[in-house]
Symmetry: C2
């Protein structure tokens, strides 16, 4: 699966029964961390509109689980793994991706990448099997007569099947980007680009944080986070970062959960958790230091904030490369950056007005859509439930095998025709030549 595969959501249609009250039953196959935060926005909206939403979650889930403020139902299935296994698995995969992947040779890169993917697919297969072979759970799900399966395909799981078969069954794809991040390219009618659906206007900051932000005066503040999955960094690295931050006139709000760096400046405050969207929407915010996760990038685009990207894994290098190409970010290499690299990058995005201008341009593109991304996502989920699918948007290519898809059958037939014609013509010529030669000889003899 390509990097982009990570940032898509998949809708599968089950044999379904649709209740007449315009309310459907939705079964959800989610993925952890930022994927869940994004998906939950859609699920909360579905629940708000009266749909019954059931999320399949393992007994070892990290973020996915019941919450007092939401009417989302959870079907918890037992797994032989513990929550610690989950955390360790993600930590191991990420550490390898972040620190081991930066090899000097292409072969070493692909070798590490292969090992990561093998470990990842063994883990997800184990999880999938524990669901599929849980007869009690399967019977319960079948009896529940869901109208739709809403699935994050980053952990694919299904009916004995292949990945391409499973993906081909999706009636509708909700893509977690839009033409602000994407470059214009052809796409299919059952793709809906709903990037930034979780974005919303900023709420007021906590009192202490607001006072800190205001104390920055005209210099403004910088927001810094490396996302929900990364918490441990080497002490050396935190000092490299802290010493760069100490040298800028802005105040810095840094989401960091570890040992306080020795080089931390008085302008920098550490927080275990930050209200990221409210900070990015704050009028004092001048720049965003980000690992380049889709959610954070979209919040920055929504509020028009230029970025310093320190991509770590998965689609993050790709996301930051796009922001850089669109002139709204400077990119740094996590494993190679020095204090002055970070300092210069920050100075550039804050002081060169072009970065703010480009970030605002992306923001205008993002805001000026015919319909909000969340409303479009909900529309197409409800459409699939209402019409028991979206067959009119499904390309016929899904029903072709590989040689039909590449027209090899047609090309083969045409080549066979040409070959036959050449063969027949050659035979005819040879026959005529022989006949002519014989007649010639006979005439000569006579």
């Amino acid at each position: 699966m390509s990097m982009k595969g990570i940032s898509v959501l998949l809708l599968l249609q089950l044999s379904c029964y649709f209740s007449p009250g315009n309310c459907g039953k939705v079964l959800v196959w989610p993925t952890e961390y930022s994927h869940w935060l994004n998906m939950k926005t859609i699920l909360d909206e579905l629940v708000q509109r009266g749909h019954e939403v059931t999320v399949l979650a393992s007994s070892a889930s990290i973020l996915i689980g019941p919450n007092q403020s939401s009417a989302i139902k959870f079907e918890i299935y037992p797994t032989s793994l513990t929550k610690e296994d989950f955390l360790l698995f993600f930590r191991r995969i990420l550490d390898r991706w972040i620190y081991d992947l930066h090899k000097d040779t292409v072969w070493a890169y692909f070798s590490v990448m292969q090992e990561i993917f093998v470990e990842y697919s063994e883990f997800t297969e184990k999880l999938c099997k524990e669901v599929i072979f849980n007869k009690k759970l399967m019977t319960k799900l079948q009896q529940s007569r869901f109208d739709i399966v809403f699935s994050d395909p980053v952990i694919p799981c299904g009916r004995p099947t292949t990945l391409s078969e499973l993906m081909g069954k999706a009636e509708m794809w909700l893509i977690r980007t839009y033409w602000d991040i994407e470059f214009p390219r052809p796409h299919l009618p059952h793709f809906e680009f709903v990037g930034g659906l979780h974005c919303k206007p900023a709420k007021p900051l906590p009192k202490e944080m607001e006072e800190f932000a205001q104390s920055s005066k005209e210099n403004g503040i910088v927001v810094f986070t490396l996302g929900s999955m990364v918490s441990n960094m080497t002490e050396e690295m935190t000092n490299v970062i802290a010493s760069a931050l100490a040298q800028i006139p802005q105040k810095v709000i840094w989401k960091f959960d570890g040992k306080k760096p020795d080089t931390l400046g008085t302008n920098t405050r550490l927080y275990k958790w930050i209200p990221q969207n409210d900070l990015l929407g704050h009028p004092k915010t001048k720049a965003f230091i980000t690992h380049g996760g889709t959610n954070g990038i979209y919040e920055a685009i929504y509020h028009g904030i230029p970025m310093v990207g320190i991509p770590l894994f998965a689609d993050q290098p790709d996301n930051i490369a796009r922001m850089k190409a669109k002139g709204a970010a400077v990119s740094l290499d996590f494993n190679k950056m020095s204090s002055s690299d970070l300092l210069n990058a920050l100075k550039t995005v804050i002081n060169d007005p072009l970065y703010k201008k480009n970030a605002m341009k992306l923001s205008r593109i993002h805001h000026d859509q015919p319909m909000k991304p969340l409303d479009r996502a909900i529309f197409w989920i409800e459409f699939v439930m209402r019409h028991k699918g979206a067959k009119h948007l499904r390309p016929a290519s899904y029903d072709l095998n590989w040689f039909q898809y590449h027209s090899l059958d047609v090309i083969g037939f045409l080549l066979a025709c040409v070959a036959t014609a050449i063969f027949v013509i050659t035979k005819c010529c040879l026959f005529c030549c022989q006949k002519f030669a014989k007649t010639g000889k006979r005439e000569k003899r006579e």
Copy 2:
């Protein structure tokens, strides 16, 4: 230009000035007949929303011109042609297309098609030149500082240029179809499918027509029209049609402006003009006999009416073929159909419930969109004015020449690399062999 080119509208951006009151100045380059009827729906809506709309129309226009009920402005430019020239030109082109194109051989078909296109392009070039070389008009247009050009590219005209250059300058394409008529296929982000934007709920019929419709009782009525461009038919053909219509239990409302056919049944009434949309939305309507123009087909889809298609020219055979493939129409050949063909086709679409079912399915797809087609069309016109273009949706392929587009430069470079490598390796091998041979000889001698 392909058949589909006829059913698209083009937006070009001029060097523009956009007034702060959210109201723009729109310059329109229209085309006659059904294209104008469709475009006028958008222009009326733009005027309603406070935009200033100026239509470039020739002094010989047929349908395009001022109307008391609309605030659309018209800039009439003088042409050496008369309205009669225009009418004769279209009549000649259509007669050739309808009657002469049905040749037995492929070569005859293409020969006639080529003649039609040559005549068409000479006519449109003449018209275009009379606009472009009209200095007074050009100065006036330039001084008017329009925000946008809204153009129907079926008569392309522009700044010395080629068709592909002119088309490549469009910021946004409004395609006059949707996924009810289209089969799912890849498309670009600056394509917006706004087919059926002119459709609306039916208004009550004129009293006499309503009484006639009601007199059909449970049998219902059939609506028959061959569009705005065809009025003359051979007497033989009208009798073939009339005698078929006379044999069905339904009442027939036929838009026809010619000699009353001898075989006309008492169930059939002729009208010089009919309120097509109101008739198709009438509860008594069972079927629609149509030439397959996009506007009529969309009105039938909007109201869920099965069709008998008698395609005549341009994209009509293609449109009817799609409706046939989707099970909502039976197709007839205008030049070959007999009375019984038409009778059987009518019986099929009226009595086989599958046709009504499929027409209703298309209708549901058409109605169940996140946003109405007219609103989407207006949104993107206003977007191009607001943002002085829609560059974020424009694929980079427009800026490539043909060999870059097909990656021939990349392929060429790679082939050159391979060739160089083969050359170097061969030379090295030869050199080594020679050296080895010489050494061998010397050793032998010694």
